[in-house]
């Protein structure tokens, strides 16, 4: 896939990497500082640290981070004659859209990797926790990355259609708030079908927060993964169809 490889080349010297590193690290540091300042010990060791760092991160910052990344990867196309060049080549609209979503997925995976490494480092160096992060959280991390795909596809579509850098991020903020409300009011089916709500569900996995039972079950993992892949396919195809019909003015 040449379009995917080309998109990765555009990431060189990109501001995206700053977001990828700083956002998850901020979540980890905030969780650690909160623990130290409140004087509340990590009763359940790694589990408590994970919960304090990841649950809030999954409700707002992660989605906003993906939205910022989407705005960043599309911003370069809105400059100069890049739209004309992008659509004036034989590369199909679907390939253009898939390329952008793939890059966002890779960046989301990198963010999750930074988050996990940050939690392990803080757990060992700051709190001297025994052992290491339980393997179930590596599985949850993979689920979180997959759950980011529909958000990436959706935000990518918005940033494609809007020249504004901030407007798609504002939409992401509103959609995250809607997702959180749906989880709090236990309208779970709708929360799962909203891409921004689905990320919240993935980050709750294994924590016992909101809709989660407290254990990572095959059923929960499967439902999140299947919905994530289905939503991604629908949003990506829809975005490609819109792009194909759109005039470049």
């Amino acid at each position: 896939m040449g379009s995917v490889r080309a998109e990765f080349l555009k990431l060189r010297r990109s501001m995206s990497w700053v977001v990828v590193v700083l956002l998850p690290l901020t979540a980890v540091v905030a969780g650690a500082v909160n623990t130290v300042v409140a004087g509340e010990p990590l009763e359940d060791h790694w589990h408590t640290l994970w919960l304090r760092a990841v649950v809030f991160y999954g409700l707002f910052p992660l989605v906003l981070g993906v939205a910022v990344l989407a705005s960043l990867v599309w911003r370069v196309e809105h400059r100069g004659g890049n739209w004309n060049a992008l659509m004036g080549r034989q590369v199909s609209s679907l390939h253009v859209v898939v390329g952008k979503t793939a890059v966002l997925a890779a960046l989301a995976a990198a963010m999750q990797a930074v988050l996990v490494v940050g939690i392990v480092v803080v757990g060992k160096l700051v709190f001297a926790l025994p052992g290491t992060l339980p393997p179930e959280y590596f599985l949850v991390s993979a689920v979180i990355v997959l759950a980011c795909l529909p958000v990436a596809a959706f935000q990518s579509g918005l940033s494609m259609l809007m020249r504004s850098f901030a407007a798609p991020i504002a939409v992401a903020l509103l959609a995250s708030a809607a997702g959180m409300l749906l989880w709090m009011t236990r309208i779970e089916a709708l929360a799962l079908l909203l891409p921004h709500g689905l990320v919240g569900r993935a980050t709750q996995m294994g924590t016992g927060m909101l809709a989660d039972s407290g254990t990572v079950t095959a059923g929960a993992v499967t439902s999140v993964v299947v919905i994530a892949l289905g939503l991604t396919a629908v949003v990506t195809l829809g975005t490609a169809a819109v792009l194909d019909r759109r005039d470049i003015r």
Partner: protein, 297 residues
Amino acid sequence: MITTHDLGKTYGDRTVVANLDLRVPEGCVYGFLGPNGSGKTTTMKMLLSLVRPTTGEIRIMGRPMERSTRRELLGHIGALIETPPSYEHLTGRENMRLVKRLLDLDEGRTTRAVRTVRLQDHLDKRVRDYSLGMRQRLGIAMALAREPRLLILDEPTNGLDPAGIEEIRRLLAQLAGDGTTVMVSSHLLGEIDRTATVLGILGEGRMLFQGTRDQLLARSTPDVLIDTPEPERATALTARWSAYRDGPAVRLPGLDRTGTARVVAHLVHERVDVHGVRRDAQSLEDVFMDLTGGRGL
């Protein structure tokens, strides 16, 4: 290479292009001229299917250019529309690598494209540090990399200094010599009239003229200049032919051969000495001004 029939584009109540019948022969340099806002860019965007026409049809290389067929046809077309495309945070080399990856080209093609625009010594600079001329050349190299049969360039000389304009002229002639059909737009006739073998002149979205340079010159009647020692009196006597003083001579616009004979006979009859009668030398620029009603070039 390109034919259009009744091509038109309307945005709301505003007609940008109307009834356009383009004929771009294969292997030519087609100079697409018109004042700013005359519809050149919209036409070029329609040719690339970036913008869908409101009316009419386009055929390129004998095949209809529509949304359903555009990807296949675009494989044979290189284009530079409006401002040059590039990713400013990347170097020139990285931009070319990007095109190579996107279009699955071999290294040789991108190298040849870069050499054609003579940018090989500046490839490791970031594009944000490029001059406008270098950006234009990079944009053209990106369009050339796929070795297209048809090259569409929208105002490629915009913002270039005279040396840069001359370089683009040489490049266009070289490409046409190699068999590439080039369609190049400009609002400045002088920039492309010596390079273009066929000219199309657009005014307010409509084709005012299409043909060769000689055909264009033949379209307009140059002014008649009469040399006389009494220009004041001669001007008054020929006022009904719209004569006016032009220094020591009398100028009569739009006068054919019969009209010229009548004016001379009238002056002689009124005992005005006529020392000479000649047609003014007319540039393409004057013809263009006539055609576009004095707007541009």
